[in-house]
């Protein structure tokens, strides 16, 4: 049995959005790539998501958003993680994200944006490259 640091990722579904097929597919793919994945379940508030991130001590938070409210949700997440003293978490966003909003999300602090249709390998590679840096 190994004693080692393993990447731990929270896949979270904030707000009213009831579609989690994509989030589950990503969670499964990250698991198969060797990461420990906590799945939040549907309809979580930002406060709940941040609490989960604190208690689980994840390295990465992935938000899956299909409602079009990705900018205000992401804004609120960054505000809350800073308040809770976990502003160092890596945040990525997936879901229905128009390309025109990507610069705005990155400006907020999102490290990677992976809209629906992104090959899973791309998301995995992105997270693995981050863990090497960290």
């Amino acid at each position: 049995m190994e004693n080692k640091k393993n990447m731990k990722v929270l896949i979270a579904k904030p707000g009213l959005d009831g579609h989690d097929r994509g989030a589950k597919v990503v969670a499964q793919a990250l698991k198969e790539a060797g990461m420990e994945v906590v799945y939040s379940g549907l309809h979580r508030t930002i406060d709940q998501i941040v609490n989960i991130a604190v208690q689980e001590d994840v390295n990465v938070i992935g938000l899956s958003i299909m409602t079009g409210a990705h900018i205000p949700i992401t804004q609120k997440l960054f505000q809350k993680i800073k308040e809770k003293g976990i502003g160092d978490k890596i945040v990525f966003v997936g879901g229905v994200i128009p390309s025109r909003d990507v610069p705005k999300l990155k400006e907020l602090g999102v490290v990677g944006v992976f809209p629906g249709g992104t090959p899973l390998a791309e998301t995995i590679q992105f997270l693995q490259s981050i863990s090497k840096k960290g």
Partner: protein
């Protein structure tokens, strides 16, 4: 140590970080445990075990709420399996603990078992100490749920609840070594299903006729999703807690258990360290080469690896 002070003052973030350190096997983590250890031993540590889908997470959720309402400070450790094909895990237990999660002061930590045998992770006991240091007085541990071999959970818990459903099988399943040997309380869950009452009666009869200790294992009928029977379960848990403290058979079992747990962790650590020492030796590869060419049999290979690891003087 600053981290330990912060945990003792109730800082959740520090507790979470410390649990990760123990999972990673870092010296700092183990030093922190030594500092926390004098503050532990008073919490009621409750294990919940049973097959996948039996309703363990839902029962943990309901227990947390009831204990919380009675003024208990609840910590939860939910263990899920690490993939046999790698280091990944899908930790999905807290999904079913949303009601408990909403309760002020409930701390939930998911944990991948990382190959440790017996239904828990190597870091689970350490995490329980951390949660007690954080001020929790009821700690609920949900096992991996792989069935009959979850003996390790009983080594770290004061009370173990075995969750069964009406389709558990028959008397032959009960006679097999395993599940009923580790539980202090049996819960027949999903009692809205046909045959549940009869199944609970069968198990009760079996347990009565095979009683080996002073404690008579009760069989409770529960419909966890509706919260039915949960108060009876809490009452049974409190009764069992009193028994383990007051009855000599109960307290000596605990002393024996902690020794067995240390030996189990030692076995894992020893294996890891030994493998590190021998796997780069040329002879190691050579043994497996011979095995794969069928020039030696598997048991011969094991004896050769043993000689490599522990050469006789």
């Amino acid at each position: 140590m600053e981290l330990v002070d912060k945990v003792l003052r109730g800082d959740e973030g520090s507790a979470a970080r410390l649990i990760s350190m123990i999972e990673e096997g870092r010296d700092e983590g183990y030093e922190a445990i030594s500092l926390l250890f004098p503050y532990t031993g008073k919490a009621h540590v409750i294990g919940v075990t049973g097959a996948p889908g039996a309703g363990k997470s839902t029962i943990v959720d309901k227990l947390a709420i009831s204990f919380g309402r009675q003024g208990g400070k609840v910590g939860i450790i939910a263990v899920d399996p690490t993939s046999a094909k790698g280091s990944g895990a899908f930790l999905g237990d807290r999904l079913r603990m949303r009601n408990a999660e909403k309760l002020e002061g409930v701390f939930i930590r998911s944990m991948a078992h990382r190959g440790f045998p017996g239904g828990i992770a190597k870091a689970t006991l350490g995490a329980a100490y951390v949660l007690e240091g954080l001020g929790k007085d009821v700690i609920l541990i949900e096992s991996v749920g792989s069935g009959q071999t979850e003996i390790q959970i009983s080594m770290i818990c004061d009370s173990v609840v075995t969750v069964l459903t009406p389709d558990y099988g028959d008397e032959i399943q009960l006679m097999k070594a395993g599940l009923l040997e580790i539980g202090d309380i049996v819960v027949m869950n999903k009692t809205d299903r046909p045959g549940a009452v009869e199944a609970a009666k069968d198990i009760e009869f079996y347990l009565m006729s095979h009683k080996k200790q002073h404690w008579q294992i009760p069989v409770l009928t529960v419909e966890a999703i509706q919260g039915k029977g949960v108060e009876d379960l809490i009452a049974a848990l409190k009764l069992h807690r009193t028994y383990t403290v007051e009855n000599s058979q109960g307290s000596s079992k605990k002393k024996e258990n902690i020794k067995r747990l240390v030996l189990a962790i030692f076995k894992e650590e020893f294996w890891g360290e030994t493998l590190k020492k021998i796997q780069d030796k040329a002879m190691f590869d050579d043994i497996f080469q011979q095995l794969q060419n069928s020039t030696i049999d598997p048991y011969k290979a094991v004896r050769m690896v043993m000689d490599l690891a522990l050469p006789t003087e």
